[in-house]
């Protein structure tokens, strides 16, 4: 008997999406179904997490065909870590949407698209099949294209065009990479791929061409994650999308790219070694990660600097938050770069990346929701029009402030631990003499200071200062404020009760690096 709970989150989201279509003639029922769906999703993820805590890796063979032939779902600590983030942000965003989005918008397609996006995200986190990953990516992406374009005005269509077309190119590249991997490695199943790459002779696999193919794939993930130089679409798309969608995009969708990098590059492709080593100046080693380490490092550095410097001069809240997202994703990639380069700190580094991703997911989604609340009330989030928010809406402002200082890394908010672990990773790598460890450390400090610079500026210009007319006369929807504050409370809760979170992240990092366990669980009885 299969552990049906593995598929439960995905099915809940899928059926919620389907149910919201015929329910569009009954707006209240539609809204209720949507929120209940998100709630049930959270419940299912919690149950699944319980099972994973007991059994480590749950494997689910769709259509009852064994791996590597059928499609496999793999629920382990890493998947669950990401699913947990998804469930929380999704619930908050959908509850936010129920009040925030216009009645017409909700009726026309919003809820269906939203939950299908969750379906895509969930599938991406659970699947153990690389082509299936492509499919769920596409599901997630298409819904996000539409949701970015949702308001259908000039900025929205323009942003959506850039976002859509770049990602269409990305999808073609992904297909190219998957096709090449299938041809060279001989499988689509990730565990099988890891096994074949680990013992290439046994399976007649030549790992040499695989590296270039994985690079293609990597660029696609970098595009999804919005890492420099694949970040171009981010600011406009985040601004254009409705606030709760941006919360999901920045909070969760971005992390799908990160998840894929961890899962594929650290669990799967790390298995491969190149018989002749890396024959390119500047790259040392004979495994794939040695190649990706420096590249990820440059990308992380670019992201941190571009995001941080970019955010400093934005003249609207969403702009600051959008560029901040580019910078913060750099902080997630940075430990991964270190992990790729310095094997000794790998578990710590991946845990750091995960904790940072979680923190950024919770925090940035909260900040975008806060921004949305302001936009709904004032009609704009341009600084010239929103001065003095703190006086008019202190509770919301406290929420925003907590988010801002969480991202800066002020304890005991959750964001602090992200920073702490990143510092730890880079510091340890530097102390161990890892190449670039000290540079990485310096970079993370610079990035952190930039974070302070742009958030303090945003705060002064938006929340302090003289009240604008719009702010003075605005009325803030209490239900929206409550959601923002609840998320802010969560930031504090995660920080104060950080130990279980850390243990979850460490478990996720351990499982991400435990290739053998992954392979054994998925290909049980095949060897």
């Amino acid at each position: 008997m299969a552990a049906q709970i593995v598929i439960a989150p995905l099915l809940i989201a899928l059926f919620t999406a389907i149910a919201t279509l015929p329910l569009r003639r009954f707006p209240r029922a539609q809204r209720a179904a949507s929120v209940l769906g998100a709630l049930a999703y959270l419940g299912a993820v919690a149950l699944l997490a319980g099972r994973v805590a007991d059994e480590s890796i749950l494997v689910y063979q769709l259509s009852a065909w064994p791996s590597p032939f059928g499609i496999t779902l793999v629920a382990d600590a890493l998947s669950l870590f990401m699913l947990g983030l998804t469930a929380i942000v999704s619930l908050a965003s959908v509850a936010f949407s129920a009040r925030f989005m216009s009645g017409f918008a909700q009726r026309i397609s919003y809820h269906t698209l939203y939950h299908l996006m969750v379906v895509g995200i969930t599938g991406s986190f659970l699947t153990g099949d690389i082509f299936n990953l492509f499919v769920w990516f596409e599901v997630m992406l298409l819904s996000s294209y539409v949701l970015v374009a949702f308001y259908s005005g000039p900025e929205h269509t323009r942003a959506a065009l850039t976002y859509t077309v770049l990602n269409l190119l990305g999808s073609a590249l992904m297909l190219l990479a998957i096709g090449g991997l299938y041809a060279t490695v001989g499988t689509l199943n990730m565990a099988d791929m890891a096994r074949r790459l680990a013992t290439p002779a046994q399976f007649g696999v030549d790992p040499v061409p695989v590296l270039g193919l994985t690079v293609l794939l990597f660029c696609v993930f970098a595009l999804k994650a919005g890492i420099v130089p694949f970040q171009f679409w981010v600011p406009a798309a985040y601004r254009a999308a409705p606030a709760p969608v941006t919360a999901m995009l920045a909070g969760v969708v971005k992390k799908v790219g990160i998840y894929a990098i961890i899962r594929l590059y650290f669990t799967v492709f790390a298995a491969a070694t190149l018989p002749a080593g890396l024959g390119l100046p500047g790259f040392v080693g004979n495994d794939f990660l040695s190649f990706f380490g420096p590249i990820m490092f440059v990308m992380a550095a670019g992201s941190i600097l571009l995001g941080g410097i970019g955010a400093v001069s934005r003249d609207d809240l969403d702009g600051v938050l959008a560029y901040s997202s580019i910078g913060q994703i750099g902080f997630v990639v940075l430990p991964l770069a270190v992990a790729a380069t310095v094997p000794e700190v790998r578990p710590l580094a991946i845990a750091a990346a995960l904790v940072y991703a979680l923190n950024h997911g919770l925090t940035k989604s909260m900040l975008f929701l806060a921004s949305g609340t302001v936009k709904e009330a004032v009609g704009s989030v341009r600084f010239e029009r929103i001065g003095g928010l703190a006086k008019r809406t202190p509770v919301l402002s406290i929420g925003f402030f907590m988010g801002a200082i969480s991202l800066i890394g002020i304890p005991p908010l959750s964001g602090f631990f992200g920073k702490l672990l990143v510092f730890r990773t880079t510091a340890h790598a530097g102390a161990l003499g890892g190449r670039g460890g000290a540079v990485a450390l310096g970079l993370s400090l610079v990035g952190a200071i930039l974070t302070i610079a742009y958030f303090s500026r945003a705060w002064n210009r938006g929340f302090w200062g003289t009240e604008s007319e719009g702010v003075r006369t605005a009325t803030y929807a209490p239900s929206l404020v409550v959601i923002v504050v609840a998320l802010a409370g969560l930031l504090l809760l995660v920080g104060v009760g950080f130990d279980p979170v850390l243990r979850a992240a460490e478990a996720a990092a351990d499982i991400a690096l435990d290739r053998q366990a992954y392979v054994d669980a998925v290909l049980e009885g095949l060897q």
Binding site: G120, V135, L176, A183, T184, L211, L223, L420, I452
Partner: protein, 823 residues
């Protein structure tokens, strides 16, 4: 969570001689602190802060008394532990080796008592000062939280816990400095202090992280506990030092921690936030700049001293402290506002404390410990006095003030006590700690010789200016009242009582310094030395020691220069223009960054899709090619696979079609040519034995054509003319992408996966022998279809979701037209 007291462990460690904290302290105080009292003292202000909004609703302005009560309770709780030493601990993040460990010893006791004690007075004072001011609930709440944070800094023995409270002081002070949030200068000041102190904190955090990293080697297991347990860092200071040096991390850690402390304690060049911070309400300034915020930095230096003291330490902190002391004293002379004067003076005295702790001899530690107390007493007094002046005289401009003794006689007296203490004039309190500095500096110079003689010289030089501005401040009460100064009111009791109490305490210290030493300074001093601390003996000098001579030189030079004060002031002001002004580098950095950002961003995020796509495709190609190159792929030899003529022709037509699309003269021509390509791809599928694909391709092709036509029907004819250069560049990039793909094809066709395909081929059809229900086979002859609806039906599930979403998307795009956000 477990609340555990660990005094016995401390005792054991001390008998083993490993405990770096002063043995004298331990000899005096062996009782354990009560965990409940410490945690309660720490928690009360935060709880108070949380309920302040409610309290304010009930009590209004009398919330000040509530806050004072809370502060007093904390003070009482801390004071009740007087004489105890040891730590209490609550588990926090065991996985990380982080706990909420509180440790009480002389130094933390001193800082806690100052924070909560001065807190009581500041709240009392606020009751008068803040009358009628806006945002009082916020004010008291934040101030309470700030005070709690400061207690936390003092009490926390775990580096992470310490950092928590450290950053909380920065954040809460951000709120306090920005209290008048509609004033641009308040916002500027708040942001500046946050940027500098929080950033400094992050450097310090890195230092902590490195310490913890090294502790893994030194102590066998990674810990963040600095002090108070047998396996804390300070309890194993020697091992830690060795490990730090072995790892080459001693200097990095020292510098990182020093940056954090220097930012907080406004050491040059990170002092620039301090004068602006005067934008805060005056009670806040009094609090932040006497007993709390800035003291956190020097406290940390004192706390770390047993662990890190040495030559590097002295070179760094001794120099830093003296430079700060001198430079900021000069700046204080140049001040035009009484709060500005006091602010620079604060930085200067913190420089003195830093220098004291910086000197590697015991006298240095004495200096630091004693001056923490003295400075808190006289500086808090003076700030409160400044508040009274500003409140009652209506101005803070030095040039507009004078002769205040007539209207404010009591204030005049307490100002005299505090200002003379600040000036280092015997027998006022500041004199003794300054003497200790001179002694310490002299001892260092004497011992090391050479350039080390700069230490005492600079100490004297800086002290001259300290003397000068102190007297200048006192002179506000002397002379004649300027004509422009209007009526000066008498301060209320709430305003007057707190500075009187403080000045009284300062007076007592001045009269009987040994009392203060015995009560608390000795034990605080003990906390700051590695190994055995000697017993302090402080009294007025009875013979001419070098230090006495230095004091004499200072005072006499000061008196001699007094007549030229205005010229000096003008000189300093002339100097502090341009790059030497307080805001220069900060403004350059911050606004330069903003400007650079504003200039650079449009060049990166151009809005031009072409740029974006070019980057994406170019970088991807480049990296992939690098990947192939790095791995050393070789192009496979010609294989014997044959390709038939029809396939070649079909592919040729496809290429021609694609080329024709690329140069199509009109939309319609391009769409039709694209269809040719589509047909050829379909044919390719036919010839590759893929009928399902061919069918799919064909039907899709047609529908795409129809949609294209429907859309083109509504589009203009634009197809852009591009200049040759652009075309050439694009062609180059296109060639690069093409090359990447070509190589990808060549290298990837080497292998041929058949194991999986074979499984599908064998399991798809209906086997000859089967029962009435067939579950282990796909039950269909079209293997592709069986894969789609059975083997990989999950893919198809996603695929149809995409189709559904495409439909919803199109519907949405059209239906939402004109219904977007109102902005």
């Amino acid at each position: 969570m477990s609340l555990v007291a660990l005094p016995t462990a401390i005792a054991e460690a001390s008998t083993m001689g490993q405990l770096g904290t002063g043995a004298a302290t331990l000899a005096q105080a062996t009782a354990d602190p009560a965990g409940v009292a410490l945690f309660a003292a720490l928690a009360l202000p935060f709880l108070g802060a949380l309920v302040t909004p409610l309290v304010y609703r009930a009590l209004g302005e009398r919330t000040a008394w509530f806050a004072a009560l809370v502060a007093f309770a904390s003070f009482g709780l801390v004071a009740s532990q007087f004489g105890t030493t040891g730590s209490v601990s609550i588990d926090w993040i065991p996985t990380l080796g982080v706990s909420l460990t509180l440790y009480l010893d002389g130094l933390s006791l001193l800082i806690s008592l100052l924070a909560s004690g001065v807190g009581v007075l500041v709240f009392t004072y606020s009751a008068g000062y803040m009358h009628g001011e806006p945002g009082q609930a916020r004010y008291y709440g934040t101030l309470l939280a700030f005070m709690g944070s400061m207690l936390g800094v003092a009490l926390a023995a775990d580096l992470i816990a310490l950092f928590v409270f450290w950053e909380l002081t920065s954040i809460t002070s951000f709120g306090l400095i920005g209290h008048y949030r509609e004033s641009e200068s308040s916002l500027y000041a708040a942001r500046k202090s946050m940027l500098i102190t929080v950033s400094g904190g992050l450097f310090m955090l890195v230092g902590f992280v490195l310490l913890a990293f090294v502790s893994g080697d030194a102590l066998g297991s990674t810990t963040f506990t600095l002090i108070g347990t047998p396996d804390s860092m300070i309890a194993n200071a020697d091992a830690m030092r060795t490990a730090l040096e072995n790892a080459g991390l001693f200097v990095p850690v020292l510098v990182l921690v020093a940056i954090g402390a220097a930012a907080k304690s406004a050491q040059v060049p990170l002092h620039v936030w301090l004068p602006n911070a005067m934008e805060a309400p005056t009670p806040v300034s009094a609090f932040l700049h006497s007993a709390t915020m800035v003291k956190a930095g020097v406290y940390l230096i004192g706390r770390m001293r047993p662990l890190l003291v040495g030559d590097e330490w002295m070179l760094l902190l001794g120099t830093l402290g003296l430079i700060t002391m001198t430079v900021t004293a000069l700046l204080a002379v140049g001040a035009s506002d009484i709060k500005e004067l006091l602010a620079y003076s604060t930085a200067s005295h913190l420089g003195l404390i830093t220098a004291g702790f910086g000197f590697a001899n015991q006298l240095g530690a004495e200096t630091g410990a004693f001056h923490i107390l003295n400075h808190a007493l006289f500086k808090a007094t003076l700030f409160l006095v400044a508040g009274i002046i500003a409140h009652e005289a209506g101005t803070r401009a030095i040039s507009e003030l004078g002769g205040l003794r007539h209207d404010l006689p009591i204030t005049g007296i307490i100002t005299a006590i505090a200002a003379l203490g600040m000036a280092g004039v015997p027998p006022f309190n500041g004199f003794y700690s300054k003497e200790l500095l001179f002694e310490s500096a002299y001892e260092v110079a004497h011992e090391l010789g050479g350039l080390a003689w700069l230490f005492p010289a600079v100490a004297v030089f800086g002290s001259v200016f300290t003397f000068l501005y102190s007297i200048r401040f006192l002179w506000l009460f002397m002379g004649e009242k300027p004509a422009g100064l209007g009526e000066v009111h008498r301060p209320s009791l709430a305003l007057l009582a707190p500075p009187v109490v403080l000045a009284g305490l300062a007076m007592i210290v001045g009269i009987d310094p040994q009392l203060a030493v015995d009560t608390i300074v000795q034990s605080a001093f003990g906390s700051a030395v590695a190994g055995e601390a000697h017993t302090m003996s402080i009294h007025l000098p009875t013979e001419l020691t070098p230090a006495v001579a230095m004091s004499a030189i200072t005072i006499l030079t000061g008196i001699a220069l007094s007549p030229f004060y205005d010229r000096l002031r003008d000189g300093v002001r002339r100097l502090t223009h341009g790059p030497f002004s307080a805001d220069w580098y900060y403004d350059k950095a911050v606004y330069g960054l903003e400007r650079a950002s504003g200039l650079a961003l449009p060049r990166i995020q151009t809005g031009q899709f072409r740029t974006y796509a070019a980057w994406m495709l170019g970088v991807t190609s480049l990296l992939a090619l690098a990947g192939y190159l790095a791995a050393g792929v070789s192009i496979p030899a010609f294989s014997d696979l044959s390709i038939t003529a029809p396939v070649v022709i079909v592919l040729l037509v496809a290429i021609v079609g694609a080329a024709a699309v690329a140069r199509a003269p009109s939309h319609i021509a391009g769409v039709l040519t694209l269809s040719v390509l589509g047909f050829m791809v379909a044919l390719f599928y036919v010839l590759s034995s893929a009928p399902d694909l061919a069918l799919t391709q064909l039907v899709v092709e047609t529908l795409v054509l129809v949609i294209f036509l429907l859309v083109l029907n509504r589009l203009p004819a634009f197809y852009g003319d591009t200049d040759r250069g652009t075309v050439a560049r694009d062609a180059l990039l296109a060639g690069g992408v093409g090359l990447t793909v070509t190589i990808s094809v060549l290298v990837a066709t080497a292998g041929s996966p058949d194991a999986i395909a074979r499984f599908f081929v064998e399991r798809a059809p209906v086997p000859a022998e089967h029962g009435s229900i067939l579950a282990d086979f796909g039950g269909g002859s079209n293997i592709v279809n069986v894969i789609l609806v059975d083997f990989r039906a999950f893919d198809t599930m996603g695929e149809i979701s995409v189709v559904a979403m495409a439909a919803l998307g199109v519907l949405t795009l059209v239906a939402m037209r004109g219904r977007g956000e109102s902005s």
